[in-house]
Every structure is written in C-alpha cells, then in structure tokens.
C-alpha cells in the first residue's frame, strides 16, 4: 500500500494532519478567551487516524463522525473556513450556525455529520452502505466511533447488521483510552475492541494510531475488501488525545506526564516528518512551506469567523422541514 | 287507492342507501301541484328536493326533519281531499308493513360501471336500460358520470343510456392528449365503436356539450340528435375565474367557493360533494389533465372552440337547456344558437341544472327524444 503514496499524496497527508493539528491548537487557545460559544471536543493527537483512512475516500464515500469530529471533517474535505465560522456560531458556518462543533456535516462531500450522540453513527452508515449496495455503487461507508461508543448497543446492532447484509461498511474504533473521564481499561470488557469483530463475523484489525502509514495501509485493505463486496471490517485504531474530553477538562484522571510522554515519543506529525525526510521522500523545506500555508489558512479562518455575522432571529425558524 | 300517492325516500345514484330529511317545504293540509317541491332531502352526496308525483293535498308526513330513512322509506302521503282518513291510514300501514330496505344483493345486482379499452385509454362507463337509439351522457369539465345521478335512471326506463367518463375524468385514463375538443370527440366516437353503438343521441353538459358538438361535426352520420345543457361551444364567454379556481384549488376550503358557483342554490354543495371532487383532483394525472384541458379549451377565460355555426349547418335535432342562474357559461348562449333548436331556460337554477332541476330536465329530454 505504501507504494501508492506518491510524493503528492505524502504532501497531502501532511497538509491534512497539520491542518487538523493547527485548527485544534488554535481552538484550544481561542476557547480559553471565552469568545467561542458552547463547548468543543478536540481531535489533536489523533490526526493520523482520520487522515490515513479518509485519504482512501472520494466524495461519494460516506463517513459518520463523533462529537470529536473536527479531524474527520477536515480529512473528508469539509471547508475549514466554514468549519471555523460554524464553531464560532456564525451564519457563514457550514451549518449556518445551527449545528456547531458537534454537528458539522456536509452531505455533498459524504460527511454525514459529527454526532452528539455516542454511538449514533453506526446504524446510519449501515443505511448509507445499504444504499450503495442496492444502487450497485462501489462506494463505502465508514463509522468513526470511540472506545466509549464501542459499548453502545447501537454499535453492536450496526456490526451485526453490516455482516447480515454484507455491507460495504468499515467500523473504525478510535480508542484513545478514555470515554470522557473513564478509562477503556475499565469500561471495555475485552482486551481489545477489535476482539469483538469475531462475534459479528467480520475481520478485526488493530493498528497503531500514531503511525499514519500503518493506519493508511490497514484502512486500505479493509476499504478495498468492502468495495469488492467482501463485507465489513472492524478496525481498532489505538491512539491518544492531547487535550481533555472537552476544553476545560483538567484531565485529573490521567497520569501527570501521560500526554507529554506520548507527544514526545509518538506524535504522528513528528514521526511522519522524520520518516519521510529520512527516506528522502520529502524535504524539511517542503514541510515547512506547508506549515506556513496552514498557519496562514487557520489565521484567516479565525479572522473571518470573528468578523462574520451571527445568524439573524429569522434564521431560528428555517430549515426544520423541506416543506411543512 | 289510486288517488293516494306515497312519497318515499328517493335513490339518487348507485351509492345512496339512505337519506336525511332536511325540511318539509309543504305542510300537512297544503294543496300540492304535480312537480312542486315538497320535501328537502339530503344524501351523503347531495341535497335535493323531492317533487310531487301527483296533484293533491299533503295528508300525512311520516318523517320529521333530521330523520334518516332508507331509500324507499315512506316520507309522506299525498291524496285528494275527499279520500277518507281510514283509507290513508290503511295505505300507510300497508306500506310500512311491506317495506323492505335494499340489501347488498339488490345493490350488486344493479347496474355498475364497467371499463373498456379504447385505443390506449381505459374508459369507464355505466350502461342502463335497453332499446332504441342509445343515449350517451357526457359530463363537463372536472365532472364524471355521477353528474347524471338524477337523470340516468329516469332516462333509461325506455332506452339504452350510457354515461361515460371522458379521458382525464372519473375513473377513465387521465391522459387527455392535446386536450382539444376534437381529441375528446375522437375518444367518444372510439368508445361508441368499442361498445358497438353506431349512432347515438348525445347529451352533453358544459364541456361535454362541446364534445358532443365536435363529435357531430366529425362524424355527422353517427349522431342522431344533440342535447346541449349549459353547453360549451356555443359562444366565446366562460367564467375564467371559475376554471382557474377549480384547477388551482388544492384543498376543500379552496374548492368549495368554486363549486358553489355551479348551483343556483349554493347550499346544495355538501361536504361529501366537496370531498368527492377533492378525491378526484388528488388522483395522479388529474391536475395535468385539467391544466391541459383548461389551456386548450378555455385559455385566457375564453372558449377556444365555438362550433355553433358548424353544428347548425348539420341540421340535426337540437335541444338546448340552460339554468338561468348559470354563473359559468352565460345563459345568453342558449339563445345565440344559429340553427333550429328547442331552447329551454330554467329559472333559478345554475350550471348544474340537470341536478338542480332533474325532473324538469328529464322530462324535457324524454319529450325531445320521443
């Protein structure tokens, strides 16, 4: 699979991961000012998962995301300007300020939405995949969910349904170790979420979520199998989040140096950069150029989000029904 | 006993099983002339007056306002002043003792509509009676064979009478092609081929009259006579607001004021009539059919096909009947016909004169045909 990764693809992968990281770091900083309404759940640290998987997808492939969905949105191609404006509650946002961080969606890009309901996406992507199968398309539908959602009945039902109907569906368990403040060591009854795959008659694969290349390869196999009618896969991506469950979470439930240690040893952007520059695939100058472009993009997205208008009172009543 | 006349609940159309007495228009002791309206009765579909079948005195009223009676149930008795009370009581007792309500079997053994394939359309029709040169009843724009509810059976007692659903109407195929009168007339003539009718007396109401005239122009040999009731095709004027309102109405509140224009007595527009029209309008293809017809035939509130002179030139027997209070097509058209015709204008009645003054219209048609 690595052979597919041309220079352009590597640049794209780095750009996507860097965009997610900067987007989330910036939100982390700006949220502390109190200007952003509501609450946000940041994806920083998990970039290799969304990026490694979504690089295999076109806009007709569907993904369902989670409340920690910014990374999936960016990796699936949702406009960063619209996302930032949405999170700031602006009319120019992806959802016109009606969804916010937890509901960013763009069905025209196959992004079925971040989802405020833990485990909500499993049944939905079964439907998207069923539609693909009945319409004889070779698209796939992917459900991202966390270790918390892995214990939800909806996910079990979806896993069962996907095998019963032999759907082109991939279930990606992003196990970052914590469902809110509760460790998956406590809440997940088996050693690995992927171990549950056999109970639902599908392959279960465990992959290092800090390693873009590993994720990309494992996802590629599962997606190719699904496109060819080989049915669903449960892919467990083991990774970590750098920030709290939500912004403001002091993470007292984690060991004092846990995050610092992971950042130091495993950070997906650092390891990616080391590997591609070491192998002579990309130069540090090329990566730095991307860093600068992304920084400018994020800066611009915040500048616009701050100055864009809020929705008007009349917007409250629109977009409930297509017709009523 | 011959001078005793029983007034019973009428059967207006196939589906009527019972009727409700709205009010008596004559009271016990009133002198009554044959043909006078004596009691107002309401079925699910329509309200109407029962007309006296004989001269006499209103001697008994056996049903009160609000009573619901089965079809055939005894409403009252008309008899001459000199008929003794005892004789009337005996007649009432006899009628009540021998009354048998219609059963489902009677219902199913009666005439029921059929469908026949005519070209690429299925055409629904109802045939009643036997004998003579057949009569074909042709409803108007937005109507169907039930528009002849009060006429069909009466006309069929001595001859074959068909009522058809034109293309786009009732339960016939909803494709109306170009919507031109000539196309509807073609469909009518093909229907006649299909049911084996070589020549017919055509009775058309409103747009149906236009279809009858077009058929006569296209195939004169196949038309014995024309009865044109509030007919289209006799002049250019037509109530464009009605046509547009009827076509555009999407719910009962919108359609009701339009339907009220059809009757001299707007109270005849019952809930059920409104509902039946809405049921028709909801059927797939009906909206398109009505829009095609209205733009082909009545664009800009003007009748596009005036066949008056062409029909006059044929020299066929023509009976023209109009409700004087017609709000859809002006009654002046009745008198504007240029050929030889019997013209009858009925006072106080509207566009649906064949329903509102059914007995009178039936008599006129029967006399005309014989």
């Amino acid at each position: 699979m690595a052979s597919e990764l041309t220079k352009d693809r590597l640049l794209q992968a780095y750009r996507t991961m860097r965009t997610i990281r900067d987007f989330e770091d910036r939100l982390h900083a700006d949220f502390a000012t109190g200007e952003i309404p509501g609450f946000v759940h940041l994806y920083a640290g998990e970039e290799a998962s969304a990026t490694g998987i979504c690089m295999h997808l076109g806009k007709d492939d569907y993904i369902a995301s989670t409340h920690r969905g910014h990374g999936h949105c960016i990796a699936k191609g949702v406009d960063v300007m619209g996302m930032m404006a949405e999170i700031w509650g602006k009319k120019t946002g992806t959802c016109r300020g009606k969804g916010g961080s937890m509901h960013i969606a763009d069905l025209s890009l196959g992004m079925m939405g971040a989802n405020g309901i833990v485990g909500g996406g499993g049944p939905l992507i079964c439907g998207a995949a069923l539609a693909m199968k009945l319409r004889k398309l070779d698209d796939v539908a992917i459900c991202f969910f966390g270790d918390g959602a892995s214990n939800q009945g909806t996910i079990f039902e979806a896993l069962n349904l996907a095998t019963v109907w032999n759907l082109p569906a991939i279930f990606v368990a992003e196990n970052n170790g914590y469902a809110e403040a509760t460790s998956s060591k406590y809440s997940v009854a088996c050693d690995n979420i992927a171990d549950r795959a056999s109970a639902f008659g599908m392959p279960g694969v465990i992959v290092d979520g800090f390693d873009f290349f590993a994720v990309h390869e494992a996802a590629g196999e599962a997606i190719e199998r699904a496109r060819k009618g080989g049915g669903p896969t449960l892919l467990e991506v083991k990774l970590s989040r750098y920030y709290g469950h939500f912004e403001g979470d002091q993470q007292k439930y984690r060991a004092p140096n846990e995050v610092a240690h992971i950042k130091e040893a495993k950070d997906c952007l650092t390891t990616f950069a080391k590997r591609v520059t070491g192998a002579g695939q990309l130069t540090q100058a090329e990566l730095s150029a991307i860093d600068a472009e992304v920084a400018a993009l994020i800066e611009e997205s915040v500048r616009r989000a701050k100055s864009d208008p809020k929705p008007a009172a009349a917007d409250l009543m629109t977009d409930v029904y297509v017709s009523y | 006993m011959s001078e005793i006349t029983l007034v019973t609940m009428p059967k207006w159309g196939l589906s009527m099983e019972q009727g409700k007495v709205n009010c008596w228009l004559k009271q016990v002791g009133d002198a009554i002339k044959r043909g006078e309206e004596i009691v107002e009765v309401e079925s699910e579909k329509i309200a109407g007056a029962v007309e006296a079948a004989a001269d006499g005195i209103m001697r008994r009223q056996l049903a009160a306002a609000e009573d619901t009676l089965p079809v055939g149930g005894l409403l009252g008795v008309i008899a001459a002043a000199d008929v003794p009370d005892a004789e009337i009581d005996a007649a009432v007792a006899d009628a009540l003792a021998n009354f048998k309500p219609l059963t489902a079997d009677d219902e199913s053994s009666g005439a029921s509509p059929e469908k026949i394939q005519v070209g690429n359309r299925s055409i629904r029709y109802l045939k009643r009676g036997e004998g003579g040169t057949p009569v074909i009843l042709i409803h108007g724009f937005g109507g169907d064979l039930n528009n002849w509810l009060f006429n069909h059976e009466a006309l069929a007692n001595s001859r074959t009478v068909y009522a058809v659903d034109l293309p786009g109407h009732g339960e016939s195929t909803k494709d109306v092609g170009s919507g031109a009168l000539s196309e509807l007339a073609d469909a009518l003539l093909c229907f006649m081929d299909a049911v084996g009718v070589d020549k017919a007396n055509l009775v058309g109401h409103s747009m149906g009259a236009g279809v009858a005239m077009a058929a006569a122009v296209q195939a004169p040999a196949r038309v014995e006579s024309l009865t044109l009731i509030c007919g289209a095709g006799l002049g250019a004027e037509i109530n464009g607001d009605y046509i547009q309102g009827f076509v555009g109405a999407a719910n009962r509140n919108a359609i009701k004021p339009q339907l009220m224009k059809l009757f001299g007595d707007a109270s005849l527009v019952t809930r059920q009539l409104v509902e039946d029209i809405m049921k028709y309008k909801r059927i797939e293809g009906v909206d398109a059919a009505l829009r095609t017809l209205s733009s082909a035939l009545f664009a800009d509130g003007r009748q596009q096909s005036v066949l008056r002179d062409q029909v006059a030139a044929l020299g066929k027997p023509v009976l023209i009947i109009w409700g004087e209070a017609d709000q859809i097509i002006p009654v002046a058209h009745a008198r504007a016909y240029t050929g030889k015709a019997q013209v009858e204008v009925i006072a106080g009645k509207g566009h649906m004169v064949q329903m509102e003054a059914a007995n009178e219209v039936n008599q006129l048609i029967k006399q005309f045909l014989s």
Binding site: G120, L124 | P113
Partner: protein
C-alpha cells in the same frame, strides 16, 4: 362505484405502486417478507400481520428482512435516506420505539436543522399502534404525541383505507421523515379506494361530518367512534361536527379553530393517555386561540392515565367508547353558566 378494499390492502397497494414508480423506494423491517435464511417459503409472513405480503416477489431485492434490531435497522433506513433511497421501514409496534428513539428524534428529525438546511431525510417509519387487540401494555399504546413533540418529524395517522393509501404515497414522496401510524384495529376496515395513485396532503384535517352545535376533534380509530356518537346525537337534534386531524404534525389548526368559532363547544377524543396528549394539545390550542367563542368548558375523552391492560374486562373500559363520547357531547351541550 369505486372499488372497496381494506385498510391493510390500501397500505400494501400504496407500497406496491410507489415501488413500481420509483426504484429508490425500498421496504425493510422484521419479517417484512419473512422466511429469509430458512429452508421453507420466502415471503412466508409479509410482516407480522401480512401488510407487506406479496411485495417481495414483485420487487426482488427491495423488500429487506431485518434482524430484531430496531436501533440498527431504523437507523439504517435513516442513513439510507441520506444517500439516495426512500426507505419505508416498519417498526412493528410503536411501543418498540423505546429501543430506537434516538435514531428517530436525535438523528432523522434533526439532520436538516443541525446541518443548516443542507440535508434531506426522506424516510417513512410505518408503525402499528392502538389498543383493542388484548395485547397489553407493551403492544397497545398510541404514543403519537411523543413524535408530534419533536420538530423535524411529520406524524400522520390515517383513519380510513382511502387516507391510508393516499397518505402513505404522500409520505413516501415527502422529503422529510414521516412517522406513519397504522391502527391495528383498522386493518380489516373496508372502504372505497381508487385504483389509481393519489396523494392526500398533510396538514389538512378531514371534516368527517358537518354540524353547527358542537365540534368533536379526533384522530385515528377514534374517528369512527366519534362519528357513530355524532350520528346518535343527531337523533336528539344535536348537530355534531366531527374533525379527523389526519396528521398531528403538521397540524391543521385553522380547521379546528374555524369550527369551534362556529360551534362554541369542543370535545376532543383521543385514544391515548391524557397527559401531554393530543387531547390536551388541542384543548390548549382552542383555549388559547378561540377562548372567546367557547360557550362551555372543553371535554376530553381519552384513555385513563394507566398503561393499556391485558384482560378484556379491563381493556374494554380502558378504550374510549361511543357512549363515553356521547356522554361528553351531552355534558358540553347541557352546560349552563
């Protein structure tokens, strides 16, 4: 005379006609054909009461049996609706929505709003409701008011075979999620139904009977009981207007208010439990918007605030009766200040 078929046949015919018209319409649910994966007959059931029987062979691959997994397949129907299909999912009994409600009210109902008007979810969830089957507390509830409460859902409950066909076709063509509620006691009811396809619009109440003395607003199976009560009251000279709401979301407020403005009296008849019910909703609406017209207090005829019981002796008194409705009409008519 138009052809008569049953309520159940009307639903089957609507599905068949829409599946024939539009290849994106699919049907899914538990035993929707039945016999999947077993050596016997496929299409053995056609749904638990046979409503979808016969569709499986007419539309190969488009009538899909599901595991007993309501969250899974109701959610899948919703997901498929976001990706080009028009699924009609059967939630066997409305009482089972407890295990899949999230997919309906947090997902399907909210997509359009949360996504800023950029999503359409044309899914229909057909479900059986209502008491009278001696089916007890978990198979007999009405529950339409729970769905009606949720913005983004349309909630419809045809009372006649005619409405069942026309409203189901409307539901399938509708681009919003529709909860289509079928009263199990109405399945065998016969009525005139056109053979052709037609739609009955949502948000238009049906005035079943016109009258100027008192308004009875009702819905679902209760329409027939209310009409019988009205017919009986007519003999006493009381002219009852009977309004079948047909849909509770959208709600035809205008027809209700116009009627009460005219009659000044209102009885609401609702088979469901009384608290936060359609009965209380309609009563509230009228109290708020037609208070000046009221000549008497509003009466509600509902089931009591208890779950549907099992024993026939209990269920028969749980379900509102014609006599209950007549009693309420009588009390409202006789009220004097």
């Amino acid at each position: 005379m138009a052809r008569k078929i049953t309520y159940q046949q009307a639903i089957n015919e609507a599905l068949a006609q829409e599946m024939a018209r539009d290849s994106s319409v699919i049907v899914m649910g538990e035993d929707n054909h039945g016999g999947e994966g077993s050596p016997g007959e496929q299409d053995a059931w056609g749904g638990v009461l046979g409503v979808t029987k016969g569709l499986y062979h007419k539309f190969p691959g488009r009538v899909i049996d599901t595991p007993i997994s309501e969250s899974g397949f109701i959610g899948a129907a919703i997901g498929a609706a976001t990706n080009g299909l028009r699924p009609v999912a059967e939630l066997m009994f409305v009482d089972f929505m407890g295990v899949c409600f999230d997919q309906i009210f947090n997902q399907a109902a909210k997509f359009r709003y949360m996504f800023g008007g950029k999503a359409e979810t044309p899914v229909v969830i057909r479900t059986m409701y209502g008491a009278g089957f001696r089916a007890a507390a978990q198979h007999s509830q009405c529950l339409y008011s729970l769905f009606t409460h949720i913005p983004g859902l349309k909630v419809v409950m045809p009372a006649t075979p005619y409405d069942a066909k026309g409203m189901l076709i409307q539901a399938i063509r509708d681009n919003d999620p529709v909860i289509f509620m079928e009263h199990k006691m109405l399945y065998t009811l016969e009525g005139e139904v056109p053979e052709e396809s037609y739609t009955v619009p949502f948000g238009e109440a049906n005035v079943v009977r016109e009258g100027d003395d008192i308004t009875v607003v009702t819905l679902g199976r209760m329409v027939h009981l209310a009409d019988q009560a009205a017919q009986a009251m007519q003999k006493n000279g009381v002219h009852v207007e009977v309004i079948d709401l047909r849909t509770t979301s959208p709600l035809d407020e205008a027809t209700v208010l116009e009627s009460v403005e005219r009659t000044g009296r209102l009885v609401v008849v609702d088979e469901s439990n009384p608290r936060c019910s359609m009965a209380s909703d309609i009563a509230g609406l009228v109290a708020q918007k037609a208070f000046g017209a009221l000549k008497a207090p509003i009466e509600q005829v509902t089931a009591p605030h208890v779950p549907p019981p099992f024993s026939d002796a209990l269920e028969d008194i749980y379900i509102p009766t014609v006599a209950d409705i007549q009693g309420a009409i009588g009390r409202v008519m006789e009220f004097r200040r």
